[in-house]
């Protein structure tokens, strides 16, 4: 396409048509102050701070596309006075007293105040009081701090695809609302928390991180979430000089585009399960704490003919170590072999338009994949068909909803769709047969556990059988329920698991942010989770446990 010649601050540039004045100025390293503008979201021009002068007229640079003969000036007296006036109006419209606001220090409105040397209010301040919405488990909405930039509304629909947040009324009375103006906690909010991350002021904050540390008091560790096999890029904010995570934000530069789900953003921080703080032995149906050496001694006696079960919460390094030590005595507790292998990646999902979801509610698990397909559907360029027998919240955005037994009938109706992607976790044998009949389908399998693919790559197969001695390594021993009773069972696990009374010996291992390691994400790429915290009590990594065992008895 032919480039358009425009002038910015007297300097001639050739600009690609379709780009905005703000984008071109950024490319030229020229600064234009912005507030409602946020890179991955469509510009809206609601705050008016980015105004520039084009041939005597003031226009918002974020929404004005380049046009021939433009002569843009960024800092004429008219522009500067107008920006200052706009800023004054923004500051006095609602409650923007910094000193009792959580966002002070991180606030973008405050930064603009400093940039423009705003040292007092020229107008009487607004005196209406709005009630704070504290109904949500994790998120607080304080409309008194709101500048009505609609970043949250746009992020909720354009990026995360949830369409929960919206606005009502007009002008100074505009309110950000959830669904049809109901408390956020009772709304269809999936707790993905993206609104908190994009809010420029203290209007949307989260309960966990509030007042625990400003951005300057934290260090940011780039890592990957290990709550599910999507392995989203996360930025972990750790309080400097302290063993404490303030908050987890999505990484906009990674495949997940800054989006996280409830599990990734809040699950790991809010729902701390009780940890196993010391090795424990159960004899005479009583738990007794023992020291590490004794635990190793007991374990060494049972290890010779033990069967080892692992789950997909272990990292590649741990799996290969276990495999090296126990060789063909290692089994996976769960079936990880996909019923039909994936032939597409996350990137293909983002590009595709037609989706068939079978038996999985993507608002409850694998939430980021849910976001990718929901935002397509709500923007009008995607079709979702859901097959499920249970309640599935995707139904509201689906074009068609069928029961699982109606798979053949449904697919027959969708025959003419252009290469739809089938998204599934488990499939019955019959449904696999049905699916394999249709050649226009593409497949995207959701692995059962975080590192399911790692287990497959290590060639650790699924099998469950009784044995005299059983060692379980991982977090979810559910699958062992049936076979534990007559065995001597040892669990190497980070938590006080519910089934603890079924195990004879429990040894705490490191978990979560205390350990680092790699795993295979849904696309089969290796991603790394970084270590952020120090253990608060004595727990061990597998290498230490195996080394100690080796000292006592040759494995």
């Amino acid at each position: 396409m032919e480039k358009i010649k425009i002038k910015i601050n007297g300097q001639e540039v050739e600009a690609e048509p379709g780009k905005t004045v703000l984008q071109i100025a950024k490319e030229m390293n020229l600064h234009i102050p912005t507030l409602c503008y946020f890179e991955p979201l469509l510009p809206q021009g609601s705050c008016r701070l980015c105004i520039v002068e084009d041939r005597g007229k003031l226009v918002t640079s974020c929404t004005t596309q380049v046009a021939p003969n433009m002569d843009v000036k960024l800092d004429t007296p008219d522009v500067v006075t107008s920006r200052k006036l706009i800023l004054q109006l923004l500051f006095t419209e609602r409650n923007h007293y910094c000193m009792y606001c959580e966002a002070s220090g991180n606030c973008e409105l405050q930064k603009l105040g400093y940039e423009f040397g705003l040292d007092h209010f020229e107008f009487e301040t607004y005196e209406r009081k709005f009630s704070v919405d504290n109904s949500h488990n994790y998120i607080v909405i304080d409309p008194n701090r709101c500048v009505l930039c609609r970043r949250c509304v746009r992020a909720c629909s354009q990026l995360a695809g949830h369409n929960v947040l919206g606005e009502m009324n007009r002008g100074i009375d505009t309110m950000i609302i959830a669904d049809m103006d109901i408390p956020l906690g009772e709304s269809s909010c999936t707790s993905c928390g993206l609104c908190v991350q994009v809010c420029p002021t203290g209007a949307i904050t989260d309960k966990r991180s509030s007042y625990f540390g400003k951005d300057v008091q934290t260090e940011v560790i780039n890592s990957n979430c290990d709550q599910c096999p999507i392995g989203c890029g996360v930025k972990v904010y750790k309080r400097k000089g302290s063993n404490f995570i303030v908050k987890i934000y999505g990484d906009f530069d990674k495949e997940n585009e800054g989006i996280l789900c409830k599990l990734g953003r809040y699950g790991a921080l809010f729902e701390e399960k009780p940890r196993l703080t010391s090795p424990k032995i159960r004899d005479d149906s009583q738990d007794r704490k023992i020291d590490f050496d004794e635990a190793i001694r007991i374990m060494s006696e049972k290890i010779k003919d033990a069967v080892i079960y692992v789950d997909g919460t272990l990292f590649n390094e741990e799996l290969s170590l276990i495999k090296k030590v126990f060789k063909d005595r290692v089994f996976s507790l769960y079936e990880n072999e996909p019923p039909i292998k994936s032939d597409v990646t996350i990137d293909d999902i983002k590009k595709a338009n037609n989706f068939i979801v079978i038996g999985v509610d993507l608002n409850r698990e694998y939430g980021v994949i849910g976001s990718f397909i929901k935002r397509k559907a709500s923007a009008g360029n995607g079709k979702i068909t859901t097959f499920d027998n249970n309640f599935n919240s995707l139904a509201t955005v689906s074009e068609n909803v069928f029961g699982l037994e109606e798979l053949e009938k449904g697919l027959e109706e969708l025959k003419n769709l252009e290469s739809p992607i089938v998204i599934y976790k488990k499939l019955s044998k019959k449904n696999v047969e049905i699916l394999s009949k249709y050649k226009n389908l593409r497949f995207f399998h959701l692995p059962f556990e975080t590192n399911s693919i790692g287990l497959l790559k290590e060639n650790i197969k699924h099998k469950i059988e009784k044995s005299k001695n059983i060692i379980f390594i991982g977090k979810n021993p559910e699958g062992l329920k049936e076979i534990l009773d007559d065995s001597f069972t040892i669990a190497l696990t980070p938590y006080e698991i519910e089934m603890a009374n079924k195990f004879n010996l429990l040894i705490p291992i490191k978990d979560g942010f205390e350990k680092e390691g790699t795993f295979y994400n849904i696309d089969g790429k290796i991603v790394k989770k970084e270590r952020v915290l120090e253990s608060k009590f004595e727990s061990f990594d597998l290498r230490t446990i195996f080394e100690e065992l080796n000292k006592v008895k040759s494995l």
Partner: protein
């Protein structure tokens, strides 16, 4: 060198800004050597500034009719008025009470507080009457210079006074301009 006479008052505030003023430490002596003359202030415990005072510094927001009178008096007696601290500049933390009607506020504070026994709302004529709304100083009188901050740093106060002594118009930039 011409002397510059300053006076200060504190209205609805916490005295933090005056603490910051004293926090200039030995630089206060430096300013005095340059010609600063400290007239009526809470520090000198003089209530009424001289008529020829150059700079009137006001800490705190305007919350009672007494405050209103005092800031108006300052305006009459001083050539320039400097509002220091978030309360004087913006209204600040004390404006939190603007969300509640005055009657309710007094009742809650003097009668209904959990630790109060036989409480009553003070009625002495010597006490200022609460205005319906707490106001920033510039909503009552004209203010010439502003030093926001809660409290403003000693550096910011020093900068402004020094600029005035040196005959320049004070401007706060960078780290000196803070709202917290």
């Amino acid at each position: 060198m011409k002397k510059i006479k300053i006076a200060s008052i504190w209205c609805e505030g916490c005295s933090g800004c005056h603490m910051s003023f004293l926090d200039m430490d030995e630089r206060l002596v430096e300013l005095i050597n340059k010609g600063l003359e400290i007239n009526a202030t809470p520090i000198t415990d003089l209530k009424v500034p001289d008529d020829d005072t150059d700079i009137g510094i006001i800490e705190g927001a305007v919350a009672t009719d007494h405050h209103e009178e005092e800031v108006k008096m300052m305006r009459e007696k001083c050539k320039f008025i400097v509002a220091i601290g978030d309360c004087a500049v913006f209204g600040g933390i004390v404006t939190m009470r603007n969300y509640t009607p005055v009657d309710e506020l007094l009742k809650r504070g003097y009668i209904e507080t959990e630790s109060t026994v036989d409480g009553k709302i003070p009625t002495s004529p010597e006490l200022g009457k609460l205005l319906p709304k707490v106001k920033a100083v510039n909503e009552v009188i004209k203010v010439d210079y502003y030093i926001p901050g809660c409290p403003p740093s000693a550096d910011a106060i020093y900068h402004v006074l020094n600029e005035i002594l040196e005959g320049r118009v004070p401007m706060l930039t960078g780290e000196l301009l803070k709202y917290e």
